[in-house]
């Protein structure tokens, strides 16, 4: 019977699975707890160009206008999409931009979005700010199971694409959404200053295929979708792009600092030189990006270390076998 290889190389390659899990749990827990006890940890950051474009595009939308907000995520990707959705809500609410929420990916998505809106609203009320009121400031258009058909209809005509959709009017039950202050007077897609998509699914491609070139598109996607979506940002089919946790942190940095502002933490941008893109001072505290980003360092470092350990183990074993 062969005896088990007890060399250092073999040992380095066969760390127990449960040990790795435990280290990962600690690496993702302890920095979070420390950050919370320390009142937040600030990490130096240089926002990526795609996130800068996203922020600048949002900041130029006139207050009072309505944007379409397609929300195609559930809590399965709350870590990334939740932070993105919080950030976009905070920017829209702080700037007084109305929004119409809809989903073409998941039946759960509209309810998740409404729960998130309620959370941000509660925070606003707690900080003495005006709550964003359903029907007056935002509406829910619901879930459309066929993404391809819905977005194709939207490309044709905004009013007919959502014809018949109703939402709750305070004291009035279900009423046609085009009667609401949010969508009243909007008929064509070009009336909308931007369509914003927060997604964890392939609806990003469906939207590119049907709406690109017809209306400014701004996407917020998960990390796994980042590289494939970057292709459309690079070909200018997207106005701006936020990718994963780094993107959320970029956006939160910009919300705090603005573009081309003053001070040591200012975010310079040659592309927007001479343009005043101010910060969003909504006073709602730090977002998920700022809370999670420092911890991501430890998790990524652990993965890099694990890969190095495995490879060193392999090289030592090879060397031993060769000898």
């Amino acid at each position: 019977m062969a005896t088990p290889d007890s060399s250092i190389g073999a040992k380095l390659q066969s760390l127990p699975r449960t040990l790795l899990y435990l280290i990962l749990l600690l690496a993702t827990s302890l920095p979070l707890i420390y950050g919370e006890l320390a009142g937040g940890v600030s990490v130096p950051n240089q926002p990526l160009g795609a996130a800068v474009d996203f922020y600048a595009a949002l900041m130029k939308i006139p207050p009072g206008k309505t944007v379409l907000l397609e929300t195609d995520w559930t809590n399965s990707t709350r870590g990334e999409n939740g932070g993105e959705f919080d950030a976009i809500l905070r920017i829209l609410m702080a700037r007084g931009i109305k929004f119409a929420v809809f989903s073409t990916a998941d039946p759960q998505a509209p309810q998740v979005a409404m729960d998130d809106i309620a959370t941000i609203n509660a925070l606003r009320v707690q900080k003495g700010q005006k709550a964003y009121v359903r029907w007056t400031d935002w509406v829910n258009l619901g879930y459309f199971p066929n993404s391809e058909g819905t977005l194709n209809a939207l490309a044709g005509n905004l009013a007919t694409a959502f014809n018949g959709k109703k939402d709750v009017k305070p004291g009035g039950g279900l009423v046609d959404v085009f009667e609401s202050p949010v969508l009243k007077g909007y008929t064509k897609l070009t009336d909308i200053p931007a369509v914003i998509l927060v997604t964890a699914s392939a609806t990003s491609t469906v939207m590119i295929e049907r709406l690109s070139g017809k209306v400014p598109l701004d996407f917020m996607v998960t990390g796994v979708m980042g590289p494939e979506t970057q292709v459309y940002y690079s070909s200018k089919q997207l106005e701006g792009l936020v990718i994963g946790l780094k993107g959320v942190y970029d956006l939160e940095t910009l919300m705090k600092q603005g573009l081309n502002g003053q001070g040591p933490d200012a975010v310079p941008s040659q592309k927007y030189a001479g343009l005043d893109v101010p910060p969003v001072n909504d006073n709602l505290g730090t977002g998920k990006g700022s809370a999670y980003y420092p911890t991501l360092h430890f998790a990524l470092a652990l993965l890099i270390l694990a890969v190095i350990v495995g490879n060193v183990g392999m090289l030592l074993t090879r060397k031993r076998t060769a000898q």
Binding site: P44, N75, S76, N152, T160, N163, G173, H297, L300
Partner: protein, 297 residues
């Protein structure tokens, strides 16, 4: 043609006033006739089955192909009459587009119900036959029924004239708390937990399988390393916080990762995307024109 276009609010053959006996009669008649037609197709001989499916597929696709190819109306005013038959068709296609989208949404919703039916069928079967682990099937069925009960109860309340008050949790009743507990308290938290577990497996898999054994693996590892390091703002800051990098900003971690992203990663993924695009175009044509080889029965 008014059926698909549904352009005007006026009454015609295709509609009837809401709540009227005429509407109910028309709906029942249409249900009986269409039901007889579609369920009658079951009796079609075996050699006609594939052409039948093919005709439905082709007609469905034909709408969008026509919409794309037909000259579209320019700057159409609401209520404007078409100048000629070509423009008339263009107007009709434009008006029918949202109805066809609606059609696809409704049909997809009916077909999504198939998944629900399938899960319920399996677990009710296990429960009734007391098969192994039937207790878990009972848990599944009970959870499903509770969600349906409180979900609809909550929806009826919210869509009543006083439903707007329920935006504030202080006005909630038992059914709102129950619905929120099941959806937000359990379903969403478990959704997040289920997907977060992949992090453990990815770490374990990377540790065990990510070895520099070939040129490809080495390139992949190097690219992944640069991307991961560039995602760590503190590392990127440390890398760039010296006089050499400050005088050579193109060698900062962000610049290297950005250059790789713009000039190698993006064109390579674009290459993949083009390959996929050509494939999906070919597949689209094959499906639409019924050129797939499989048998219909």
């Amino acid at each position: 043609m008014d059926l698909l276009a549904q352009a005007g609010a006026g009454l015609n053959f295709w509609n009837a006033p809401s709540g009227s006996a005429e509407l109910i009669i028309k709906i029942v008649l249409a249900l009986v006739l269409s039901g007889a037609f579609f369920f009658g197709l079951i009796a079609a001989p075996a050699n006609l089955r594939r052409p039948i499916v093919g005709v439905f597929t082709f007609l469905a696709g034909l709408f969008y192909v026509t919409y794309w190819l037909w000259p579209s109306a320019i700057a159409r005013d609401p209520g404007q009459a078409p100048l000629n038959p070509v423009e008339g068709v263009a107007f009709w296609l434009e008006d029918a587009l949202p109805q066809v989208a609606n059609f696809s949404n409704i049909l997809t919703a009916f077909l999504l119900g198939l998944g629900v039916y399938s899960v319920a069928r399996i677990h009710v079967g296990k429960l009734v036959k007391r098969q192994r682990d039937w207790e878990f099937s009972l848990v599944l069925i009970a959870s499903m029924l509770l969600m349906i009960l409180f979900g609809y109860w909550n929806w009826f309340n919210r869509h009543s004239p006083t439903g707007g008050l329920l935006e504030d949790p202080a006005n909630w009743h038992f059914q709102q708390f129950a619905s929120d507990m099941l959806f937000d308290g359990l379903l969403q938290q478990m959704d997040a937990a289920m997907f977060s577990m992949i992090a453990f497996y990815i770490l374990s898999a990377a540790y065990r399988a990510f070895r520099i054994r070939s040129v490809e693996a080495t390139i992949l590892l190097a690219a992944a390393l640069i991307v991961m390091l560039s995602l760590m703002g503190a590392v990127a800051y440390k890398w760039g916080n010296n006089s050499f990098i400050q005088t050579h900003p193109n060698l900062s971690l962000e610049a290297i990762a950005g250059w790789l992203s713009d000039n190698v990663q993006t064109p390579s993924i674009r290459g993949i995307d083009f390959g996929v695009g050509i494939g999906s175009l070919a597949m689209g044509l094959r499906i639409w024109l019924n050129l797939e080889r499989q048998e219909a029965s």
